[in-house]
C-alpha cells in the first residue's frame, strides 16, 4: 500500500517542478498547476507516511532513506505555508526539483516502504529525529528563500527589464521570512540536540563527527539570529551567511547515513 502511494506523490511533485519551470518562463496557468501539484503530492505523501506509521513496528523512518522521506515531507509542508501565494510561486523552483530528487532517492533506499525495526526506542526517535529533521527542513526552506533573495537582488542589480513582468517576492519579504524561518527552526534543533545529548549521556556512546558538525550548525544559526536581531544585519550578507550555514546542514544530512542509521 505504501509503495502504491509513492508513485502518485512523486508524479505530483514532478508535475509541480516542471510547472514551476513553465511559470518562470510564462507566469499564469503553470503557477496554478504547480501549486495544485504540490498540494496533491503533499497530501498523498502524508497518506504514505500515515500508512507507514500504521504498518510499521515502531518508528518507521529510522533508516537514512526513511528519514529522507520524512525530511522531504517536512520541507514541502513548510514550503506550502507560503508557496500557495502567487508571489512566492517562484520559490517552488528552489524547493520542488530537489524535493523530487530526494524523494526518489528515499524510494531507492527503501525509505518509502515499511521500515525495519530500529535499534533505537520509538519515543527517542520521534523527539530526536522528528525535531532535528523539522529544524533541517526549516533551514532548507530558509536557504531556498535566501537563494531566491540573491536571484532577485541580481535581477535588480542587472536592471533586468522583466523584473515587473516576472515578479518574485520583494527583497525585504524574502529577507524577513528567511530569518523568521530560522527563528522557528533553531529552537526545534536545540530541543532535538538536547534529547540526543541526553541519550548519548545515558548510553555512554562517543561523540562522533556528525554530532560535532550538528553542534557547529547550531552555533552558526544562533550567531545568525544574534546578528540579525541584536545588530540588525540583513540583506545580501545575511542571505550569503544563511547559504553558508546550509552547507553544514547538507554535511550533517549526508553524514547521517554513515554514522546514525542502520
Amino acid at each position: 500500500m505504501a509503495e502504491l502511494l509513492f508513485w502518485p506523490a512523486l508524479i505530483a511533485y514532478g508535475e509541480a517542478a516542471l510547472a514551476y519551470l513553465g511559470e518562470a518562463r510564462r507566469p499564469g496557468l503553470p503557477g496554478r498547476l504547480a501549486t495544485w501539484g504540490v498540494r496533491l503530492g503533499w497530501l498523498v505523501q502524508t497518506a504514505l507516511l500515515g500508512v507507514q506509521a500504521a504498518e510499521a513496528e515502531g518508528f518507521p523512518w529510522s533508516t537514512w532513506a526513511g528519514s529522507l522521506n520524512l525530511f522531504v515531507w517536512l520541507v514541502v509542508g513548510a514550503y506550502l505555508i507560503w508557496g500557495c501565494r502567487a508571489r512566492f510561486r517562484l520559490l517552488g523552483l528552489a524547493v520542488l526539483p530537489p524535493a523530487v530528487v530526494l524523494f526518489a532517492i528515499a524510494w531507492v533506499g527503501g525509505g518509502t516502504g515499511v521500515g525495519v525495526p530500529s535499534r533505537y526506542g520509538s519515543a527517542f526517535l520521534v523527539f530526536h529525529v522528528g525535531l532535528v529533521l523539522a529544524a533541517f527542513a526549516g533551514f532548507t526552506l530558509s536557504a531556498a528563500l535566501s537563494a531566491l533573495f540573491l536571484w532577485q537582488e541580481r535581477r535588480l542589480k542587472r536592471r533586468e527589464t522583466s523584473i515587473l513582468r516576472l515578479r518574485a517576492p520583494s527583497l525585504a519579504t524574502l529577507d524577513e521570512l528567511s530569518a523568521r524561518t530560522i527563528a522557528v527552526a533553531l529552537p526545534a534543533l536545540t530541543l532535538g540536540i538536547a534529547v540526543g545529548l541526553l541519550r548519548l549521556r545515558s548510553t555512554g556512546s562517543p561523540v562522533d563527527a556528525v554530532i560535532v558538525v550538528t553542534l557547529v550548525t547550531w552555533v552558526v544559526y544562533a550567531a545568525f539570529l544574534v546578528g540579525r536581531f541584536r545588530f540588525g544585519v540583513r540583506g545580501r550578507r545575511s542571505a550569503l551567511y544563511v547559504l553558508a550555514g546550509f552547507t553544514l546542514v547538507l554535511v550533517v544530512r549526508l553524514g547521517l547515513p554513515l554514522t546514525h542509521f542502520s
Binding site: 507566469p27 499564469g28 532577485q152 535588480l156 542589480k157 536592471r159 527589464t161 522583466s162 523584473i163 515587473l164 513582468r165 515578479r167 518574485a168 517576492p169 520583494s170 527583497l171 525585504a172 519579504t173 545588530f231 540588525g232 544585519v233 540583513r234 540583506g235 545580501r236 550578507r237 545575511s238
Partner: protein, 414 residues
Amino acid sequence: MTLVLVGISHHRTPIEVRETVALDRDGAGTLAARLAGDGAEAICLSTCNRTELYLVGRSEADAEAALLEISSLPESELVPALYRLRDEAATLHLFRVAAGLDSLVPGEGEILGQVRAAHEAGAPGPFLDRLFRHALRAGRKVRAQTAIGESPASVSSAAAALAEQVFGELRGRRILLIGAGKVGELAARNLLSRGAEISFVANRGANRGAELARRFGAEPLPLDGVVDRLLTADVVVSSTSAPGFVLRREDVEHVVRARRGRSLLLIDLAVPRDLDPAIHELEGCFLYDVDDLEAVVGETLAGRRREAGRAEAIVASDAERFREWQASLDVVPAIASLRARAEEIRAAELRKAEGRLGRLTEAERSAVEAVTAQIVNKLLHLPTVRLKQAAAAADGVVYAEAVRHLFGLGEEER
C-alpha cells in the same frame, strides 16, 4: 431594435479636434438625456481619449447633429473624423473599450470607471442598461483573468512598482525627494498612493521646497542636507535641474555601511542625471535612471500586448453572448403572440367544456386549469427554445415570420 454608435477617438483624431467634443460627467449626462426622449435610449462616454454616443431608437444623423452642436468645429472638419458602428460592431467596440483594449495604453484600468460613470450619468433604457452592464462585466473579467493591467504603464508607476519589488509593502517606507519639480512630485505621489510617506524634501530654492514639504507633511532640507538623511530614507527620488551630480558614490558609501544591508532604492528622473551611476555598485543600493525605467515600462507594455490576445478572446466571447441575446429580441414578439394565442384558445375551450362537464367544485376547476395550462406550456416549450436558438443563429426573423403565418398570429387585427 438597432444600436448605433457615433464617436471620435485618439486612434485617428488629434487632441485639437477631440477636445471640441469633450464633455464632463454632467455635460455627458445632459446630452444623453436630451437624446433619450420619445422612448429612445442614450449614453455618452466622454474621456480624454474619446467621446462616443451610444443610441437606441435614434439614427447616426441625430448623433452627428448633437456632436456638431457642442463642437466649435465646422461640419466639414468634425464629421469626417467621426466613426459610425451598428449592432454587433458597436457592441464589440464597447466591450473592447471597457476592457481597456482600445486605450492608448492597452489594459489601463481607468477606462472601466469612466464607462461605469457614463452608464450612471446616461439615460439608458432596458437595452443600453444591459449592454453597459455586460460591457462592465467583460472589462472586470479581463482584468481578473489576464495580467493585462498588472504591469505599470508609466515611468512614475514603474518606479513605485520597483520600490515594491525591493520593499514589498510600502506602508511606512520613507521617501527622500530631491527637487521640487513636477516629475519628481508625480513619482512621489505614486509612492504615496501605495502607502509610503514623503519624509524629506530637498530643494535648491528654499521656498518652493518648503511649500512642497508642507503639502506632503515632510521635513524641508537644503540640498547639502541630503546625505545626512540617507541613513533613514528607503527610497530617494531625484529630479533637479542641476548640471552635475547631486549625490556621488562617496556620499552614499559611508551611509551604506551604517545601514547594515538595508536596501536603498534611488530613482533618478533628471536629465542630466542627478545621481552618480557608480552608486548602483554599492551593496544594497539599486539606482534606476529614466532610461532604465523606460526599458522596464517597454517590457511591461510588451507583456500587456501579449495578454491583449487573451483579453480579446474573452471580450469576443462576451460580445457574442450579448449578440445572441440581442438577436433573441427579434423573436420575442412572435413568442409572446404565440403564447397569448394559445392561452386564448385554452380559456375559450375551458369555457365551452364547463357547460358539458356540469358544475365543477373549486378544487376540480383548479385541477382542470392546471392540467390544461401544463399541456399548453409543454407544447410551446420546444418551439420557444427553437425560436430563440434560431434567433441566435441569425434566422430569427424568418422563423418568427413562419410562426406568425402557421398560427395565424395577428391576422385578426388585419
